[in-house]
Structures are given as C-alpha cells and as structure tokens.
C-alpha cells in the first residue's frame, strides 16, 4: 500500500513540477486558494478533518473513562454489558477487557494521525533538504547524492521497516521516524528537479547579479515554489502512513497496549465482527473518514495548484 501510494504521488508531483515553475512569480497562493475554495469535496474534507482533530484533542477529556481504565462491572460479560450505550457512559461500548472504546478511539486517533503527520514531516524535511541541496549546488555533489538515492531505491524498505521495528521494539516514535526516513526518496527527486529548473530561470540570475545572497534566493524564490509540491505530496503521504501503521499493528509490531491506535482497534475489532460489531465499526468510521479526507484534500490541492484547468 505504501509503495503504490509513493509512486502515485510521485507521478502527480512530477506533473506539478512543470506547472508550478510556469506560474512562478504570479500570486500563486491566492490563485490556488481561490480554486481550492471552490472545490466542494476538498472543503468538506477540511471541515470533517478539523472536526475529527477537535474530537481527538478534546475527546479524552469528555470521555467518562480513561483509555486504560478497566470497568469491572463490564468485565464479566463484555459483549453483553459492554454494548454502546449513553447511560453506562460507554458511548461506543467497551472492548473485552471492559476498557471504554470511546476513550480508546479518541486516544488511538491521536496516535494514528500523529504517525501520519510525523512520518510525512520527517520525509518532507529530509527530502526537501536533500533535493534542494542536490539541485542547487549541482555538479559532483548532485550526481553523488543522486547515485545514493539510486542505491537506496533498490533497498526493499517495506522489509527493512518490518525488520527494524521487530528488532528494536515497538517504540512509536521510532516507528514513524523510520517510516519517514524511508519515504523521502521520491520527494527528494522532485524537489531537486524543481530547484534545478528554477535555478536556471532569468529572475534568479537577475537576483543573483544584483547581489542578493544565496540564502535569500533560496528563501524567497526556491522554497515557495517547492512548497506547493511538497504540500500535495505530503497530504497524499499521510494516509499511506496511517495505513502502514495499521498494517504493522496487525502484525503486532505497532504500538503496545494500553496505548492504542486506530489500526490496532480495527485489527482487534475484525476478530469480533460477529459478536461485537461496534468494536470494528467506530474506529473504522473514524479511520475511513480521515483517509477519505486526506485523499480529497490532496486531490483538491493538486487541482488548485494545476493551472491547466484554468
């Protein structure tokens, strides 16, 4: 899943690289924002996503139970007594240990979304730095850095991540840092391409000749152009990371209870489909809604930054 998504986004970003370049210098952001606002699916997604984020931020504090608290009244027969109900305070029901699913879904959401964002952040930071240095400096540095990417491209990263997580424990920070670290190759390529072509444009040469410092050039001209691509790219990366975390959780390599994530809740819920459908349903609704939102927002951003539709 991660792999397909990576390539998928790379293709989109490749197209964008040409486009952004063409509009450089115009009020790119205002244009894009105007168009993004007109995209109903994307705007609704932003609202839903914000709602979900608000939920997971304040959710744990409005829950009647904490996520790792065992309700001893329910434990005896969790699938009968632990059904979702407003009166018992278990709005989403409980799991087989009598732990409140509402609190766990909210808590798990924090983790899942954080994994998505942090993974993307790590990938973007490394990828952007690598790509812009490679593209801007050029020459031997550029070709060396690109060779390294070529070598790393042949590493079966899905395997390496599994290996790494198995061997070094289920530390959640480790997981997303590792996922991020193996996902920056595509972004680095794209950023390098954009930087490379921007560098050659007249306005950069002009800026250069009137003595604007390199740092200012990068900050003023290169970064804004790169940012658009990076945004599209990372918005499409986030759902990939969230799904990868759930895959790791299924294999028992994700975070460990009492900490939880949507992936874990769904993997557990899938085992009790026939006796306790709520255990699968509630976390799935949140996960699916989030993934849909990110995809729509990603599509919306791409359309907004794509001048051909004008």
């Amino acid at each position: 899943m991660l792999v397909t998504n990576k390539i998928n986004t790379q293709q989109l970003a490749d197209q964008l690289a040409d486009n952004v370049e063409a509009v450089a210098g115009r009020s790119l952001w205002q244009d894009a924002w105007a168009r993004f606002r007109k995209n109903r699916a994307a705007m609704i997604s932003v609202c839903v996503l914000l709602f979900i984020i608000v939920c997971i931020v304040i959710g744990p504090s409005i829950a009647s139970f904490s996520h790792d608290e065992i309700d001893w009244n329910v434990v005896a027969d969790p699938y009968e007594l632990g059904k979702p109900s407003l009166s018992s305070g278990h709005y989403f029901g409980t799991d087989d240990l009598g732990q409140d699913l509402f609190a766990r879904t909210m808590k798990g959401g924090r983790l899942s979304i954080m994994v998505g964002f942090m993974g993307a952040l790590v990938a973007v930071v490394i990828g952007t730095l690598w790509g812009s240095i490679s593209g801007y400096v050029g020459g031997v540095v550029d070709s060396t850095m690109m060779r390294i990417i070529e070598v790393l491209d042949s590493v079966p990263f899905m395997f390496m991540v599994i290996l790494f997580v198995t061997l070094f424990g289920n530390n959640i920070y480790l997981i997303f840092i590792v996922i991020g670290m193996v996902s920056w190759l595509g972004i680095a390529r794209v950023v390098r391409g954009v930087t490379f072509s921007i560098k050659k444009r007249e306005f950069i040469e002009a800026a250069h000749s009137i003595g604007v410092s390199k740092i200012t050039i990068v900050r003023r001209h290169v970064l804004p152009n790169v940012l658009g691509i990076v945004m599209v790219y990372s918005s499409l990366m986030v759902p990939g990371f969230i799904m990868f975390e759930s895959f790791l959780s299924f294999l028992g390599l994700g975070v460990q209870p009492p900490d939880t994530s949507w992936g874990i809740l769904i993997a557990e819920g899938a085992k009790t489909i026939d006796v306790a459908i709520w255990l699968l349903m509630f976390p799935s609704v949140f996960l699916v809604a989030t993934l849909f939102c990110f995809n729509f927002i990603g599509d919306g951003l791409r359309d907004a930054l794509d001048p051909k539709d004008r």
Binding site: I70, A76, G169
Partner: protein, 536 residues
Amino acid sequence: MKIRTLLMLSSLLCSVTTLNVLAKPYPAGTSLAEKQEITLNNGAEVTSIDPAKQAAEPAFNLGRDLYEGLAVQDKLGRTIPGIAESWSVNDDNTVYTFKLRHSKWSNGDPLTAKDFVYAWQRLLDPKTASPYAWFAAIPKIKNSAKIMKGKADPGTLGVRAVDDYTFEVTLEQSVPFFLKLISHPVLVPVHKATIEKYGSEWTQPEHIVTNGAFTVSEWKVNEKLVLVKNPNYWDADNVVLEKITWLPIGDANVALNRYLAGEIDQVLALPSAQKKQLLRKYPDEIANTSASLGSTFYYLNTAEGPTKDIRVRKALSYAIDREILTNAILNNGGIPMYNLVPPQTDGYKEIIPEFAGWSQKQRNEAAKKLITEAGYGKDNPLRLTFTVPTFSGDVKLATAMVGMWKSVLGAQVEIKQLEPKVFYALKEPGNINRGGWTADYNEASTWLDIFISSGEYNDSRYNNPKYDELMALSKVLADPSEEYRQAESLLINDMAIIPVYRPGNDKYLVKPYIGGYERTNPESSYYRKNVYVKAH
C-alpha cells in the same frame, strides 16, 4: 522403592493385557468411514521432526506419531510399553533393562537395541547440538553431563545393546522418576543409515524413515504437513487412520474459520469472544480437554527493589482476584491457583495456604493493611515495573492485574512489554516478571527445582537455605513427598511468586464423526494411532 517398582510393573502387566484384549481402537459394531483421513491444526509450524532437534510442543506432538520410544503413555498419562515389551531394574535402582519387541522401521529394516544406543548417544553428542540434550541428563544417565559438555566421548554413555532386543541403561544414581521420562519424544530411536546418508535433510518426506504409527508423505512449510499410515509399524493392524494432515495455523480466528468451513476436524483454542456463542450453536460438537500439567505464575524479585519486602509481595499476591482473571478475562477453563505444584501431579498432596480459603474481600483487606505497614500510601504510592512478552494473552492479563493493583493498593505499576525473543533473552528481570512452567515429567521436583538458589530459571532470585536443603535432601530419599510439601510451603509463605492459575478442563469443538481422540492425558501427550473416523 522396591515395592513401588513392583507396583509399577504389575500395573504394566495389566495394561499389556488390556491392550491385547482391546485390539481394535473402536468399539465393536462401529461403522467406519470409507476415507480414514483427518485434518488437524497444530497451532504453529513445527521447527523440526528430527527428535534430536525438537525443543517444544508443536514439534513433540508430531514426534509422538512418527516415532515410538521404549514406552508410550496411555490416555490417563500412565507409562505403558511401546517398543519395549517389558523392563526390570536392579536392586539399587541404577540399571534398567528393557526387552524390546521385534519391530521394523518404515523401510522394512529391523529395529534393534543398537538403534536406541545410536539415538541416545546422538542426542547428547555436542556435534548434534540438540536443544533438548539436557533431557537425557536429568535422569543422570551415566556420563550424560560430561558428554554434553564435550568432556567425554558419546560412546561412553551409559547405554548398551546387550543383544539385538535387550537395551540396558545405567544411571549414575537412583532417580525415582526415570521411568516417567522414557515416553518423551526426544528419547525415541532413529535410523542411523538414513541419517548418515542424508545428513540434516534426512527428515524430508522423500528420505525419512520412522518407526511410529505414521510416516511423512508431504511437508510444505507454513502450509501443511501430511502423515500417512506406516504399514511396517508393529501394531499397524490396529491403526485405522490412513492420513493426517497437520496445519500450522497460529491465529485462533483463522483456525475457527477453517473449522466452520469444514476444512479442519478439530479446533482446540476457541477465540474467547466467540466461545459462548459457538458452544450454544454447536452442542453436538463440544468435547472436553483435560488440564495439562502447567501453571502460570509471576516472579517477584526477592533480591532487590520494593518487592524485596515480603509485605509488598504478599499484598501484590492478595490483591489479585483470580476468579475474575480466569472466568472473565481468560475464559479458557483456567483454575485459580494459590500454590505452585498442580494438585494432579502424580503422588503429590497439594498444600493449601491460608489465603486460599479467604474471600477476595478478606484478601483485599489484608493487602491494604500490609501495603500501609510497608509504608506506601496516597502520597507515596508503590511504583513497580512489570515485564511481560507481547503475546496478546499475557498483555491482557497484565493489564487486568495492573488495574487490580491500582484499585486495591493504589499502586502504579508500569507494564513493560517486550517482543518475545527480547523477553526470553532478558537477563535483568524487573520487579515483577511473567513466569510459568509446564511439567517436564509428572513429578513435583520439576516445579520445585526452579526455585533452588542456584536454579537457572529462578527469576525471583529466591534464596532460602532451608529450601535448598530440603530440595537437596529430596534427591536422595526414596519418598521425598513430605520434603516437597515443606519446600513448597516455604516458597508460598515467602510469596516469592504470585501464583495465578493453571490450565483447567476446557471445551473445544470437534466433528462428531471423529472417534478415539479423548483428550484426557495430563501432560497433553496425545497419539493419533487410536483415532478413527466414523461413517458420516
């Protein structure tokens, strides 16, 4: 001791006669199915079917069908003759002589005492690197420990083929439970010519030679392992089953699905969520499996940290509501335990500590009192770490226990979960550490030897000279059961462990047309040679 041996022999004679009377494994008049084939789940892929490379249960389970040693176990766990028809022992209980029956290997070669000599020497030879070599050293077979260390030649092992059908074993000292060990699947004979010809690949389906009721026809790792009847087995006339397909399904839900789809004939571990519903829905397919000789307990570090204080240890143990853990959380028939040695252990009378008779309320009161005395309270809560492997069952149980400690003692216990291999390799246990044991043989010392101060598995670091003394004494006594009881009382009074539960009788599902598969053996040693498929 002598009387005991005689008794054993007479019970053996009894079993021999019963065996002869009950030639066929099924009751007269049973109509058998045309196709005598079954599919079972082994719960995991077996690591090896070479007896000298096996080290754990899913592998042993197959070993019992593929090879037959000197003795086997009956359905109640009693040792009955296997390849050895009878045996006798000398006056000081150190030299055992086994009379072997005339039997054949699956390729038709005759099986002789030399095969046993070769197999037992091979098991201990350091070059074989058997993970279970130590098993032959437990009964102190002459020179076994030295050979294992590479300090003596495997040829010097105290085993001898007196003639082709007489096998003699010499022990360094009298070991009361020696005969209980000989049915173990690592002590079976192996076929020398095949091993020498094919090396480590001798167990592959196209090469393997076995002497048990079955032999291997196909093995696709992680998919299936197929056994077929061995026509050269000595009792082949009474083996009804033609084919057993073993699947290595680890996930309980997947196994259940395969059962419901009619692809496996027996599902042992029912997922606890579906259990109630399944038992209601398939009343004709419910069967019982007996408790195996195991026990789950938790080591408490008696050498350092807050658990060095006996009051803390007692409070922790009292505050656990074992009824909730076994009935609600595990829901697998487990039985609460307040001591170490399971009561069904052969020739053992259970010790019952005082707190076993209290109500949970009384225990909680006592626990609260103790923890206050030990100086912990609201301002100064007890803080501990609790190390468990990441198996979901262990984590669930630990979560519940931590919840109980929190509500009764106000203790803040942090669960530290370690990936299984990391957990096993752990040298420094925390304050509380998941323990547990399965009997190596049906005798109390398999449990009590754990906690001698030099014990390799003594993760409680329990060090009580009196205990060590009792256990040392038990080794030279003909009937050490009183010493065992005293030692166990010491251990439980010092609360070096938190005993939690032992496996109990559990319900599982089996297709009603499977016969002869009563799961009543206390060591879970099952043989499929008596299983048959009824017409359906």
